[in-house]
Symmetry: D2
Subunit: 139 residues, 4 copies
Amino acid sequence: MDYTHEIRVSWGDCDPARIAYTARIPAWALEAINGFWEHVLDGDGWYQMELDRGFGTPFVHMEMDFRSPVTPRHRLACTVIPERLGESSITFRVTGRQDGALCFEGSFVCVFIVAGSLEKRSVPDEVRAVVGPRIAAAG
Amino acid sequence: MDYTHEIRVSWGDCDPARIAYTARIPAWALEAINGFWEHVLDGDGWYQMELDRGFGTPFVHMEMDFRSPVTPRHRLACTVIPERLGESSITFRVTGRQDGALCFEGSFVCVFIVAGSLEKRSVPDEVRAVVGPRIAAAG
Amino acid sequence: MDYTHEIRVSWGDCDPARIAYTARIPAWALEAINGFWEHVLDGDGWYQMELDRGFGTPFVHMEMDFRSPVTPRHRLACTVIPERLGESSITFRVTGRQDGALCFEGSFVCVFIVAGSLEKRSVPDEVRAVVGPRIAAAG
Amino acid sequence: MDYTHEIRVSWGDCDPARIAYTARIPAWALEAINGFWEHVLDGDGWYQMELDRGFGTPFVHMEMDFRSPVTPRHRLACTVIPERLGESSITFRVTGRQDGALCFEGSFVCVFIVAGSLEKRSVPDEVRAVVGPRIAAAG
């Protein structure tokens, strides 16, 4: 039931040590979070949130532990779990696995803002409606 | 029968003009070509070519025409067609479409080399066997 | 007198063949062109063009030849020469060198548009004033 | 005396919200850390460490707080401070500022390994010699 986002790791993602370059990994975690939004909001990710729905969710914090190297030999399965929904923020846990092995895990905090501004706002009802039950289930 | 590689365009690929940043487009064309290799070589892309099969295919030329903007509103379908197989080179045509509209088209030339060197070599038999018939069909 | 843009090539730009990944190269050529604009327009690049000056310069064509590998062992010097200024377009020649050796050369065509639209417009006077003399000098 | 690494933020780094896309920021912090190594190791960054010096420093942990948006209107000054040197690990603090304002701060932990392996090793003497005094000064 958790959302899993699949990444095709490839040659250009790897560095001379023949594993994915570290900076690719937070970028994939973000793509997975965007994929989570598309999954729960009828196909709408950050782009449609900002342009069509009038809100944004900038990141204020991230932390990641890198457990084992990522390579192009397997797809990278990134599971995105919303862990906490505050008054105007959301916390995600993202874990990346290849062929069953844990490659990374991380925590990401975003705040809700009015699109086109830096003004904080409460979690939109349309978000609370779809994310709330997932947090209860995860909790 | 042509190979089509699907790209999930997202927020982070777009620039302040709200369309995909130009430099993302050759990067996607390359990912599509790598996907073509995975498709015809039992899942092996550039990574496995270099590490397991002993050859590489560096690019010597690319040219691209940008026909219409790419956005996150649709998946980007990149069709990869091998157009010419020389003694030690291959030419690909890549076209990108969103929702049926042509977004870009380009031509890419790679040469075959011995892995870990800059030494040119003839097209490997395993490549000629799978790519040759596709070129005949395209021609 | 030509504008040269310096790139610090690093580990994360390289692939398992231990040279810069091909897709990094058009990205650097674009950064160099943006640097050219900053150089001739009092520090304003594409960002300020679009947001402050009211015009944009999307790419319609690029072609590149890759002559020798790029590595982190030297800075990459990208020279940007405006070659042609049309009614509503500009053509740049970009060449990249490391330690004196030619690594790539390419040609890039952009059109001038009204910011926030896809509507073509003539070359802004402020651009013609600073780029025109450079083209005469190059020609 | 701290090492500061300058980043040219540009159009292609920004997303439709007209600020740098979040995933660019850990990537810049890593570039700054690589720049720190070049600064203290006679121009050698991760590339030369791995290929010439026989050791690597993969990341095992990162955490970042995003304090204010990054834009192309100023250079981004990333200060890299080695905070702790363990038996086989190093911790960096990286802070990014634009025009004096704090944009982000983060902590990054790397372990020392034998190049081409995943085998941990003690901090190389050549590293301890140059980094040790900086940690004492910072402490």
